[in-house]
């Protein structure tokens, strides 16, 4: 894994993912280690993101590494018209590893071709966000004790949500059952259902969150965004159909955990937050350990 870029979830093998997850577990037990004290890591956020950037930067700081970079394109030379290629060629001469988020799709793959230092894609538009997938896998394994044979409910915007698409692809390796809950206009795209059909994985589609939840091991909530609807009436009609509240968790399985990539708006009622089944803030915390593990393996400080 040393010097390998992570751009898309398909770049790593199953074994490599397990290596990251195992190491993340060790970091969770002992998060403050001076493993990256000799490294400078660039954090290039051409597009703002609170959680992902802070999570990466926390991971670097806890490991004693140094961070350079910017949190939005306006504070970089991009605002002077510099090309992505030139920015990457320059920064790759400063830093040992580049973490980047950019709204242009394929930008991270291109950066990995241009750069002589490894790149971690922290999101390229609607395309890929592999470290989110990594922390989701870590969170599922940690909360359930396994990734195998789980019943997963994916809820909300299943059409445009890149996190649910990556999660679907990744979890398909572990014999899951999927339940898709979305408004009719935001259903899981056919290409992903075809993929599940090919792999012989069972899935069910629902338009409502109801007592079918009693079978769930994981409920993965996502935001239904107003801007996805051309007709505002349509949005008003569906927006409350995908809100999870505490009462709905009665009669659900003991091991059920509620996940959400965050930020949340109103799709999980705040009365769920104190329920032991709520897992989304822990999930965010897990992102730090998963990213610590990933960076250490890519930089080769841990084998």
């Amino acid at each position: 894994m040393k010097n390998k870029s992570l751009i898309s979830i398909n770049d790593f093998t199953k074994e490599e993912y397990f290596r990251v997850l195992d190491l993340a577990e060790e970091f969770q037990k002992n998060p403050n280690q001076q493993l990256l004290s000799d490294y400078v890591i660039a954090s290039l956020f051409f597009e703002p993101s609170t959680r992902t950037r802070l999570s990466f930067e926390t991971a670097i700081q806890r490991l004693g590494g140094k961070v350079i970079g910017f949190s939005e394109a306006s504070s970089s030379s991009v605002s002077k018209g510099e090309s992505l290629k030139d920015t990457i060629l320059t920064v790759s001469r400063y830093a040992d590893l580049i973490i980047m988020r950019h709204s242009i799709e394929g930008s991270a793959r291109y950066a990995s071709e241009v750069s002589n230092k490894p790149i971690i894609n922290a999101g390229d538009g609607s395309n890929q966000h592999p470290t989110q997938c990594l922390l989701d896998l870590y969170s599922i394994r940690k909360s359930q004790g396994t990734l195998e044979n789980l019943n997963l409910f994916l809820v909300g915007d299943l059409k445009y949500g890149r996190t649910v698409h990556s999660l679907l692809m990744a979890m398909s390796e572990f014999n899951p059952v999927f339940n898709f809950v979305s408004p009719p206009t935001l259903r899981m795209p056919q290409e992903y259902k075809d993929y599940l059909d090919e792999k012989g994985i069972k899935y069910y589609e629902h338009h409502q969150l109801d007592d079918n939840l009693k079978h769930a091991d994981i409920v993965y909530m996502t935001r239904v965004q107003r801007e996805r609807f051309s007709d505002p009436m349509e949005y008003e009609k569906v927006k409350n159909a995908y809100v999870l509240n505490n009462k709905m968790l009665d009669n659900t399985k003991e091991n059920l955990r509620i996940m959400h990539p965050l930020p949340r708006v109103n799709e999980i009622d705040t009365d769920v937050d104190t329920n032991p089944k709520a897992y989304y803030f822990e999930q965010a915390e897990n992102g730090v350990y998963a990213r610590m593990a990933l960076m250490c393996l890519i930089l080769g400080v841990v084998k």
């Binding site: 898309s8 090309s83 992505l84 290629k85 709204s103 242009i104 799709e105 394929g106 930008s107 793959r109 291109y110 390229d124 538009g125 609607s126 395309n127 890929q128």
Partner: protein
């Protein structure tokens, strides 16, 4: 009108035959017909036993590169390329789809890096329901057969 559509024979060069009429103009564009300075004859909506109607392109004194053949395959995988010498067909080439397409097709995704910076496009060829789909190496989006646009 029919008699006017007969296409002149060439002594040597290339005949691209059995083109579907709807693919003709795209093929002309993709092979860069306007840059060819030898004699070119084009026929469209000719009678075809196979498809009912077909188009044909005859280009004197030029022979196609592998790249040209790949480009034609992308637009019309049923086209046949004949190499002509002394008015005879000396070689028949069935066009074959390559696994990868580099450099001449535009990615349909306006948010793709290849449409924002000077990056040569790269696609993986994926056949789905008998249609050619091009999966962008960068943004991973699919450019479908009907949306293929050539970079000039």
């Amino acid at each position: 009108m029919k008699s006017e559509l007969k296409v002149k024979a060439i002594e040597k060069g290339t005949v691209i035959d059995h083109i579907k009429p709807e693919a003709l103009y795209k093929i002309l564009s993709i092979i860069g017909i306007e840059k060819i300075d030898t004699q070119v004859f084009i026929g469209n909506n000719l009678d075809s036993e196979k498809y009912g109607k077909k188009a044909i392109i005859k280009i004197a004194d030029k022979f196609p590169s592998i790249d040209d053949i790949n480009k034609i395959a992308l637009i019309d995988p049923h086209a046949v390329i004949n190499i002509i010498r002394d008015y005879q067909v000396v070689e028949k080439k069935k066009v074959e789809l390559p696994e990868k397409i580099e450099g001449f097709v535009k990615c349909i995704n306006p948010k793709c890096i290849t449409n924002h910076e000077k990056v040569e496009t790269k696609f993986k060829v994926v056949i789905k329901d008998e249609k050619v789909n091009l999966k962008c190496y960068y943004c991973e989006k699919i450019t479908g057969q009907d949306n293929i646009e050539v970079i000039r």
